[in-house]
């Protein structure tokens, strides 16, 4: 269980920042990731980005993680599925590399679904997706106690359309490191 409210809030803000970076990187990483960009999520609501002037993100910060991952902080799933495929494995290997570099960092994996399922089942399915990502990281040697999971089901879409491309973007697991 996440420890405190404050860490929670940071996690959520981190996810918002991640949304932008993730979306920008999507065209580069291809796969099921659709071309369509999600709308601007609005002005940032937090300063927890780890930025230090013009020198780029602080090494080992969530901002650093996002910058280094170039979209690989998010993996995508097929319809009603939680299997980690080859492309997901590449992304998770990149995440594992970063986590090994910063062994004191913890992370939360957020599981999400598209809107075309029932609400309760999607929360369970999002959990299964986040857990699949966690298990794969563990298989790469990341201590599972460093990783928590949380499912938002279909409640937090990143792409807002009601079409296949949007749904493909929303079936995802996003890794957010905890600053």
């Amino acid at each position: 269980m996440p420890s405190s409210l404050s860490s929670l809030r940071i996690t959520r803000v981190g996810a918002t920042a991640l949304v932008v970076a993730g979306a920008l990187a999507i065209s580069a990483c291809g796969k099921k990731a659709p071309a369509q960009l999600p709308p601007d999520p609005g002005p940032a609501t937090s300063t927890e980005t780890g930025q230090t002037g013009s020198y780029g993100p602080v090494a080992g910060s969530q901002a650093d993680f996002v910058a280094k991952m170039m979209g690989a902080d998010t993996i995508y799933f097929a319809l009603d599925d939680s299997a980690v495929d080859a492309e997901d494995q590449t992304a998770l290997a990149k995440q594992a590399q970063w986590l090994q570099q910063y062994p004191n960092k913890r992370a939360t994996i957020e599981g999400h679904c598209d809107e075309r399922g029932t609400r309760e089942y999607n929360i369970a399915l999002g959990e299964r997706r986040a857990n699949a990502a966690k298990n794969y990281l563990a298989s790469l040697g990341i201590d599972p106690s460093r990783i928590t999971t949380v499912s938002y089901g279909k409640e937090r879409p990143i792409a807002l359309g009601s079409d296949e491309a949007s749904w493909a973007q929303n079936r995802r697991a996003v890794t957010v490191t905890i600053d």
């Binding site: 269980m1 075309r116 309760e120 089942y121 009601s162």
Partner: protein
């Protein structure tokens, strides 16, 4: 808390005999035993509801005095009461009510002696009349009478004493009495609904726990929206609401106590809990817990304490659970076959068997309070609300829209509410439909609305 205000509804018979001796209507509550020659109307699943013309007149008062209601004086309240009764009967497609607007207003003395000739000339089949009196203590006495115009006969009557804040309940009781007498079905208007109020854009939507009466009145938000709230369920006695909240970061089930406005975690599991459900007697709570990629259904005592009993044991996602009315069986959802399907088990978890075999996916099963049907979400392209027999046969769609899900039954098992999501905008609203599928309507809610949970007839 308002529970204390629930007076002895329907118990004013002894009082009324003396209190209204001076020519006033003396409502005496009797069991609605059909008199010989009484109207016989049978309403079955497959037949259309009746087109019976019912005239509903403004309730008369002996003295037009101020009340402590939001409706105004007793005369204004009399009109408001009739409007609530007419709204109940009309909005459910059962009858063709008219009034109180545009109808003659009976005098106080006529409440027990209707002018049958006038009503017959207006082609009314049935006539509802009533009265409202303000008591010295601020409480209200409300009487309701149903007459058969053709037979020139009183069919049923009822009387209730209520505090001013509960005046609408008396109107719902009146509508329930009329509905039950004419349809032969159990009442359902005097009931409440818990749901999730939704505001804001699709990607930043606030989801709050809220409650309202069965007709959408007396709306109230229970949570601030800081933490996302989902999937509420009223306890059978209306004292608590179980719901899912992200208050601790993880989705977890809380029990919200309506008397104290406090909430507690139902189980400290260290893992996310979701899909809360009550047993019909309120003694048990079902919840689902996700762990290690699988989800299973557990049962705990609603009184707290005790060890949770695991009812399913994978594989995959086993979730939800709705008790049969006698509490002996549970219908639930599982994807153990590869996709969401509906299963039934005994209440101790034994004898699990799949019942849905009609193609597509099937989710969110809810057992009718009558026991004869299971409502669920059928996913085959679009999401639609459907019903089937408890053995899985007789599947019928009740709705046909882009995304309808999560049905909940009216207390009498005749109406199903669900929520409908609009394509693209994702705006959600609560709708209801009767078992014919023909009478569908949207409920009036102040903001977007989802996850309706209909409670039983109020005690």
């Amino acid at each position: 808390m308002k529970i204390t205000r629930v007076l002895a509804l329907g118990l004013m018979l002894t009082v009324s005999g003396t209190a209204f001796a001076q020519g006033a209507p003396a409502p005496v509550v009797t069991p609605p035993a059909p008199q010989d020659g009484g109207l016989e109307v049978t309403v079955s699943d497959d037949s259309a509801w009746n087109d019976l013309g019912i005239a509903i007149t403004s309730f008369a008062t002996d003295q037009d005095v101020p009340t402590r209601t939001n409706a105004g004086t007793t005369a204004q309240l009399g009109r408001a009461l009739a409007q609530v009764v007419a709204g109940d009967l009309k909005n459910n497609g059962l009858f063709k009510p008219s009034g109180p607007d545009g109808l003659p207003q009976p005098a106080y003395g006529q409440i027990q002696a209707p002018d049958y000739v006038t009503w017959a000339s207006r082609s009314a089949d049935m006539l509802v009349q009533g009265f409202v009196r303000a008591g010295g203590d601020g409480n209200l006495t409300i009487g309701c009478y149903l007459y058969d115009v053709q037979l020139k006969q009183q069919l049923v009557k009822g009387g209730w004493q209520v505090p001013p804040s509960d005046w609408r309940r008396a109107a719902h009781k009146c509508a329930d009495m009329v509905y039950s007498r004419l349809s032969g079905e159990s009442p359902f208007f005097d009931s409440k609904i818990a749901y999730i109020a939704e505001t804001g854009p699709k990607n930043h939507r606030m989801k709050r726990l809220a409650i309202m009466d069965s007709d959408g009145a007396n709306h109230r938000f229970l949570t601030s929206g800081q933490s996302m709230a989902l999937t509420p369920r009223y306890s059978p006695d209306y004292s608590k609401i179980l719901y899912l909240s992200y208050l601790n970061g993880q989705p977890s089930i809380y029990s919200y106590d309506l008397a104290t406005d406090r909430q507690t975690l139902i189980a400290r599991t260290g893992a996310p809990t979701l899909a809360p459900r009550w047993s019909p007697d309120g003694k048990w709570v079902l919840y689902s817990m996700a762990k290690g990629g699988t989800t299973d259904i557990y049962r705990i005592s609603s009184a707290g304490g005790g060890t949770p009993q695991r009812l399913t044991n994978g594989p995959g996602i086993n979730i939800g659970g709705s008790y049969s009315p006698n509490g002996s069986q549970i219908v639930f959802e599982s994807d153990r076959s590869g996709s969401q399907q509906i299963y039934v088990m005994n209440s101790d978890g034994s004898n699990q068997r799949r019942i849905s075999f009609f193609g597509g996916r099937a989710a969110t099963p809810e057992w009718s309070p009558r026991g004869d049907q299971i409502a669920f979400t059928h996913i085959a392209g679009n999401l639609r609300v459907a019903v089937m027999n408890p053995n899985g046969g007789g599947m019928r769609h009740l709705t046909d829209s882009w995304q309808d899900e999560a049905p909940t039954w009216s207390p009498n098992g005749r109406i199903v509410q669900f929520f409908r999501t609009t394509k693209s905008t994702g705006v959600a609203s609560i709708w209801q439909v009767d078992l014919t599928g023909r009478n569908e309507r949207k409920l009036p809610t102040p903001v977007g609305a989802s996850d309706p949970a209909w409670g039983p007839i109020r005690p």
